[in-house]
């Protein structure tokens, strides 16, 4: 299969494009064909933009032929999570309320992707408005985990992770509010990075919780994530929360890490993010990865973040509060779905009510109701106010931990991929999936998940690395080192162990 273009990493594919062995049209078509072959089973995509992708590919091929100086990833196709607005391409955020909406503008990160000449293959499935950990809350059907089609691909970015894991795209964009890049990465055996808050522009991301949302790369290798992260990251004057500084050198960090020398690095194991509730195989792989890091010269220490146990509670107040306000604009007045009441007068209020009643799914309604309640007069201080205080305490926990360790590590998710429907009726069990990923969002620090083996059930497990804000380069250094060591023990990438998907032709 090595001459199958879809099996190449983005970095290798880019090298083939630069050398002229492969054209972008060939590479793009190969991925479109792969989507045609397997996406009926996987359902990673909500929309495939064949024409748009091929037009970009042709343009890049002719520009390359003309000797133009192109971006290193020019011509490498990419999939974009459907929560990111794309001019001229349908954008639904997985919700019926946006069915048929064609945005008139591009998100900043999409502008950068287009300017660099990456063909956009399409938009990937997700939990409605990124609310969920299984992609079962998509209004457009489940995405299936390529490792086991009866299982969830994680969420909310299950579509992006599954697309990359199923070789439908070498690169994808995800967004992570409480773990929506990292947890799908863990359960699909792929790499996902949530950058430092403010590191990638949020302009054009359909907001769930503005103070927590971050877009980031979803790939099969650490180096590919670094390449994509450098492309989409950096200051954007249209996002007031964007960091007005240069990004650290991420690709360099990944290349340097891959050499495998971690001497002098202090790795902190967060004691609150292990033990009870973590699947046995997950804990076992985690311990093995620590041994590998130690063998690369890193010093492993234990650190305590005593307030992390309140993170989930704080998150489920802050996130729904912001979401309840961010989602108010979906009212049938200006764009998207418009539902008129079945009987009685057609007033604006009644149209809004009917539209929201019909357009939003249960999980979205649940969070809007939670958030509305938490912000209500008389409850604000007890709920939203207290949650913000917890957030400050968690930030202090991180500060203290990073005084002792250069990076912190934990399993990304407590379990491997579960079966469809297993947790759908138990929101709390679903929310617990994000227990290890949420603290990073609350503190704004960057985090990476990379595959570190298979659990006893034969399903992939993720290893999480966290770094101080604006030190995203540390994720890449440590991640690339561990990735190289792991692949050395496996004799190749973990995804090579995934069952081949049946080709539906």
């Amino acid at each position: 299969m090595t001459n199958d273009l879809t099996r190449l990493s983005a970095a290798d594919l880019a090298a083939h494009l630069v050398s002229g062995e492969v054209s972008s049209v060939e590479a793009t078509q190969a991925h479109l064909d792969r989507i045609g072959d397997v996406d009926t089973a996987v359902h990673a995509f909500l929309h495939v933009s064949t024409e748009d992708a091929l037009a970009t590919a042709r343009d890049i091929d002719s520009r390359r032929a003309a000797g133009e100086d192109l971006h290193p990833l020019a011509g490498v196709p990419i999939a974009v999570k459907d929560v990111v607005v794309t001019k001229g391409l349908p954008t639904t955020a997985g919700s019926k309320i946006l069915e048929g909406w064609i945005p008139p503008y591009d998100a900043t990160l999409v502008e950068r992707i287009r300017a660099a000449g990456l063909p956009i293959l399409g938009k990937t499935n997700m939990d409605e408005f990124a609310m969920g950990s299984s992609t079962e809350h998509s209004a457009y059907g489940n995405t299936h985990n390529p490792w086991d089609l009866d299982r969830i691909p994680g969420g909310s970015g299950g579509g992006s992770a599954a697309a990359v894991a199923a070789y439908e795209a070498p690169l994808a964009i995800g967004t992570d509010t409480g773990g929506s890049i990292r947890q799908p990465g863990a359960v699909t055996g792929t790499v996902g990075v949530k950058p430092t808050y403010g590191g990638v522009s949020r302009y054009g991301l359909i907001a769930m919780a503005s103070s927590l949302d971050q877009a980031g790369p979803v790939t099969r290798t650490v180096l590919d994530s670094a390449l994509l992260h450098e492309l989409i990251g950096g200051h954007d004057p249209r996002d007031s929360t964007s960091i007005n500084e240069d990004l650290p050198l991420l690709v360099d960090a990944a290349r340097q890490g891959a050499i495998g020398d971690l001497r002098g690095l202090r790795v902190g194991v967060v004691s609150e993010l292990s033990g009870e509730g973590y699947q046995e195989g997950v804990s076992a792989r985690f311990a093995e990865s620590l041994d590998l890091l130690r063998s690369l010269g890193a010093e492993i220490i234990e650190v305590s973040c005593p307030h992390f146990k309140y993170a989930l509670g704080a998150y489920y107040l802050i996130m729904p509060s912001e979401a309840s306000s961010n989602l108010a604009k979906f009212d049938g007045m200006r764009f998207g779905l418009r539902v008129e009441p079945e009987d009685g007068p057609v007033t604006a209020e009644r149209v809004m009510s009917a539209t929201r009643g019909q357009g939003f799914g249960d999980e979205v309604k649940r969070r809007i109701i939670l958030g509305t309640y938490a912000l209500s007069a008389g409850y604000y201080d007890a709920y939203y106010g207290s949650a913000q205080k917890v957030r400050t305490l968690i930030q202090r926990d991180f500060d203290a931990a990073f005084a002792q360790a250069d990076v912190l590590v934990s399993p990304t998710a407590p379990t491997t991929a579960f079966k469809f429907g297993e947790k759908l009726d138990d929101p709390l069990a679903m929310y617990l999936n994000d227990v290890a990923t949420i603290p990073a969002n609350l503190a704004g620090v960057p985090g990476m998940s990379l595959p570190n083996g298979l659990s006893d059930d034969g399903l992939p497990v993720g290893f999480q690395i966290l770094a101080p804000a604006k030190a995203d380069d540390r994720l890449y250094r440590v991640g690339a080192a561990l990735e190289a060591a792991l692949e050395n023990t496996w004799g190749g990438p973990l995804l090579a162990k995934a069952p081949e998907l049946e080709v539906a032709r």
């Binding site: 945005p103 054009g204 108010a328």
Partner: protein
């Protein structure tokens, strides 16, 4: 007066004898920035509907706000002019409510951290009294779009077939200025309310932060009013009257609410805390939304924006560029010109202050400048139904006209004819004098000819004058002036007549 005629009112004078009115005023001013509060959509009055919009001001999914630095500067200017403290750091907050003219279904405003707070404004009343109004806060926010209700008789939402929304106005920067409860105005509460808003309007113009045109809705006032038994009693329940958009209406709305609330209280009733709407046509207020279940706006800090932290250096730079404010300027000019209080007040009310200042600067005496602008020109403006500042004569022309009078080349009567010529577009006063041949006749020969003719025509008057009765001499002078088309110097004519008869 159909639906509202049933409301009982207490005579205003009677009402303020028995109750102490307390007012509170919220003024919204639209800032005259080139672009909107949170995006680069241009702001221009009268554009085609929904042409001055961006993804941000339409509230499209994914769009994010960015604070307009000019709007912050203008807000600081207003805060400083109102003697406020300027926050070292302040935040925006979301005010959540569903309404189609609010594209995001929340308004980005400021809540517990306004940019300016704890100020005051000295307001001059008609008799020259200075009344101090305490300012609680001035905060930044964005305007909503504009609804047009189509169909139905009244243009109001009730009975309309459908409504149109124009988002051109959505996102225009506003500053909202909120007073503390204004007490101690007594029966002058309506006048204080009016003078306060009028003074603010003048300040906005002087600061050049807004065109501040009431009729365009650049300045909008909400008037809170409550009554209490005595100035020592606790504050009563207030109503908030919205849509009061002219100075006259502000005064009348306060009077109306005083009379209405007094009637409610007289009957032993309780005033309902509610929003009321002012009706310009019928001069009444009617109940709008009931506010008692205090709409819960679920304010929380706007997570899409970072705090606004104006450096102290910047604030001081802005303070240093503040222009002289209207009350200070008025006081200075009154002193320089030597006008009486009543004269000055009339000048200000007529909108002639700038014109007179320019006329004086062009060389006329303050008295002469006032005589022209408040006399002949004010009458002209009134009869031709134009703003005094809009009439077709410049302060420089008036100064030139007065110079012609002062030099004796024309008299007052001729000067009025010259002015007519100027207003008719015949050029500067000099040119009109020449073109119309309006110069004073100073040639005695020509005058004597006319005098002789007049004397010959009225021998009886000549007799009377000869016998020492000087009264009727005016008839002779008048005849001479008439014969010379007013171009004679009346004093010289008189001398010559006496000489001739004598």
């Amino acid at each position: 007066m159909s639906a509202h005629a049933t409301v009982d009112l207490v005579d205003y004078d009677e009402a303020v004898r028995r109750y102490d009115p307390v007012i509170g005023i919220e003024v919204h001013v639209e800032l005259g920035t080139k672009t909107k509060m949170f995006c680069a959509a241009e702001v221009e009055f009268g554009g085609e509907p929904n042409t001055q919009v961006t993804p941000v001001s339409l509230g499209l999914p994914g769009a994010l706000p960015v604070v307009n630095g000019k709007a912050v500067e203008y807000a600081i200017k207003i805060g400083l002019a109102l003697n406020c403290q300027i926050a070292e750091s302040c935040r925006f907050a979301r005010k959540n409510y569903f309404y189609p003219d609010v594209p995001k279904n929340f308004q980005t405003s400021q809540y517990d951290e306004p940019i300016a707070f704890d100020g005051y404004l000295d307001v001059e009343l008609e008799d020259g009294t200075i009344f101090r109004v305490d300012i609680e806060r001035a905060h930044m926010e964005e305007d909503a779009g504009k609804n047009t209700h189509v169909g139905g008789a009244t243009g109001r939402i009730h009975g309309a077939e459908y409504s149109l929304v124009d988002y051109n106005r959505a996102g225009i920067p506003l500053v909202e200025i909120v007073t503390r409860p204004i007490t101690g105005a007594g029966e002058r509460a309506p006048e204080v309310a009016r003078a306060y808003v009028q003074t603010l309007r003048d300040i906005f113009r002087a600061l050049d932060v807004s065109e501040a045109r009431m009729e365009r809705g650049n300045v909008r006032a909400d008037v809170n009013l409550s009554l209490r038994a005595t100035p020592e009693s606790p504050l009563g329940t207030r109503t908030e009257t919205k849509n009061v958009n002219s100075f006259r209406s502000i005064e009348r709305a306060v009077r109306y609410e005083v009379s209405r609330q007094a009637a409610v209280l007289d009957e032993g009733g309780t005033v309902i805390q509610e929003t009321r709407h002012w009706h310009e046509d019928t001069s009444v207020t009617t109940a709008g939304r009931v506010k008692s279940d205090a709409e819960d706006y679920r304010y929380f800090p706007e997570p899409d924006l970072v705090p606004v932290a104006p450096s102290r250096d910047w604030v001081e730079q802005i303070r240093a560029t503040l222009p002289e404010l209207p009350v200070a300027r008025r006081n200075r000019l009154q002193g320089e010109w030597g006008y009486a209080d009543a004269e000055m007040r009339d000048v200000v009310n007529a909108g002639a202050l700038d014109l007179i200042e320019a006329t004086v600067a062009a060389g006329a005496s303050p008295a002469a400048a006032r005589k022209w602008w408040m006399g002949e020109l004010a009458r002209y403006a009134k009869t031709s139904d134009t703003e005094i500042a809009e009439i077709a004569v410049t302060p420089a022309q008036i100064a030139q006209l007065q110079a012609l009078v002062d030099s004796g080349r024309i008299n007052d009567k001729l000067a009025r004819q010259v002015l007519e010529g100027v207003l008719a577009g015949e050029g500067d006063p000099e040119a009109v004098v020449v073109a119309r041949g309006l110069e004073v006749v100073s040639d005695d020969g020509a005058l004597l000819e006319a005098i002789d003719a007049a004397l010959a025509a009225q021998p009886d008057i000549v007799e009377k004058v000869r016998s020492g009765n000087m009264g009727p001499i005016g008839a002779i002078i008048g005849a001479v002036m008439k014969a010379t088309k007013g171009q004679a110097d009346a004093g010289r004519v008189r001398e010559l007549v006496i000489e001739r008869i004598g």
